[in-house]
């Protein structure tokens, strides 16, 4: 089977979002995944459909410089710039992971003039599920 055949119901919900410049979204959710080596900033709408994304790696930084707070700032600024003309007023920020990008990307988002409504930390936390990788020996 090549492409899955979409049902009529889901087509109405999912397909409309793929037109890039037809939407005006007043409220937006910004996901910031900040690991130690990189920061990924994804802008989605309230339902979770991705509008645009940017990361420290795609902003031109390579290697250890991707993990720096300045790289996180440029990634956030880049991501917001691509959707700035779509009428974004309010944003909710969801932060995942440790890393310097948490702080730096937040500050960049606040600096860019968007109203921050909520800041949430959604780092995945198991209720003691899968066994974590073995401890590193130093």
């Amino acid at each position: 089977m090549g492409k899955p055949i979409p049902k009529i119901g889901s087509r109405r919900n999912g397909r409309i979002g793929s037109r890039k410049n037809a939407r005006k979204i007043p409220k937006v959710v910004i996901h910031v995944q900040a690991s130690f080596n990189n920061t990924i900033v994804t802008i989605t709408d309230v339902r979770g459909q991705v509008i645009s994304w940017s990361s420290a790696g795609t902003c031109g930084f390579r290697g250890p410089r991707r993990g720096t707070p300045f790289a996180a700032q440029t990634a956030a600024v880049n991501a917001i710039r691509t959707v700035a003309d779509q009428g974004m007023q309010r944003a909710e920020v969801m932060i995942k992971g440790p890393g310097l990008g948490r702080d730096a990307a937040l500050r960049a988002i606040r600096r860019s003039g968007i109203l921050l409504s909520f800041i949430r930390d959604v780092t995945p936390m198991p209720h003691n599920g899968c066994r974590p990788p073995k401890k590193r020996r130093m």
Partner: protein, 227 residues
């Protein structure tokens, strides 16, 4: 005295105090030997003893670790502490008091560990903490962390295999905030320049358009890279 340089020294803690009957009895005053003795641990030089101070009652030895090992320990401590900040309930309640009321998903302030500096003998660890939020949130977060220093130290000792768990000091880190402020000022200057240029271009004729491009310097040149 030959046991001072005994190979089993590799397993000793970095500060050893030899009680009086075991040292040479003929010495009564303070003697300081300054020699470097290299202790091998595997293939790398792990610690080097840089000085031995002998007084009447005890003998202190200072050990300096391999700088590469210091960096690795710092990185590992950073990982552990960041993980603790996110996962550990006690620390979270200390940093964000309203988490105990149940409001742990909607945050008023966000605490991040930006850097960890370890001293050369692995005894003192300076943790630079950056807090996002208003003034009160910053004070509350830092006070909460400072009150939990002993708990953090014992948790770290449990998680990491170190000979001696270092003393932890939490320091507020303003560098990210300062960098953000500088960038905001630079952006403002850039906007003002662009506004002035646009105004200039709209008033003047096409001949003067070349002049306005000459004073468009790159504001990115002055950016301070904050790490």
């Amino acid at each position: 005295m030959p046991y001072l340089l005994h190979p089993s020294l590799a397993t000793c803690p970095s500060r050893i105090q030899i009680p009086l009957p075991l040292t040479t009895t003929s010495v009564n005053q303070i003697r300081t030997h300054n020699f470097v003795s290299l202790v091998r641990w595997g293939n790398q030089v792990d610690k080097s003893i840089v000085g031995v101070t002998m007084t009447k009652t005890n003998t202190k030895i200072r050990c300096m670790a391999n700088p590469r090992r210091v960096k690795m320990v710092a990185k590992q401590i950073r990982r552990e502490l960041s993980d603790m900040l996110i996962t550990d309930k006690v620390l979270q309640h200390a940093v964000l008091p309203e988490a105990s009321l149940g409001a742990d998903q909607y945050l008023s302030s966000l605490t991040t560990i930006s850097e960890v500096e370890v001293s050369a003998d692995l005894q003192v660890v300076k943790v630079y903490v950056s807090v996002f939020g208003d003034e009160r949130g910053k004070e509350v977060a830092l006070a909460g962390l400072k009150s939990k220093v002993k708990y953090v130290r014992s948790e770290l000792g449990r998680r990491m295999k170190l000979r001696l768990t270092p003393e932890i000091r939490f320091i507020e880190d303003e560098s990210i905030e300062r960098g953000s402020r500088v960038l905001a000022i630079l952006d403002k200057i850039k906007e003002e320049k662009e506004g002035a240029e646009r105004k200039q271009q709209s008033d003047s004729s096409a001949v003067h358009e070349e002049d306005s491009e000459l004073d468009d310097e790159d504001p990115e040149q002055g950016i301070i890279y904050v790490e």
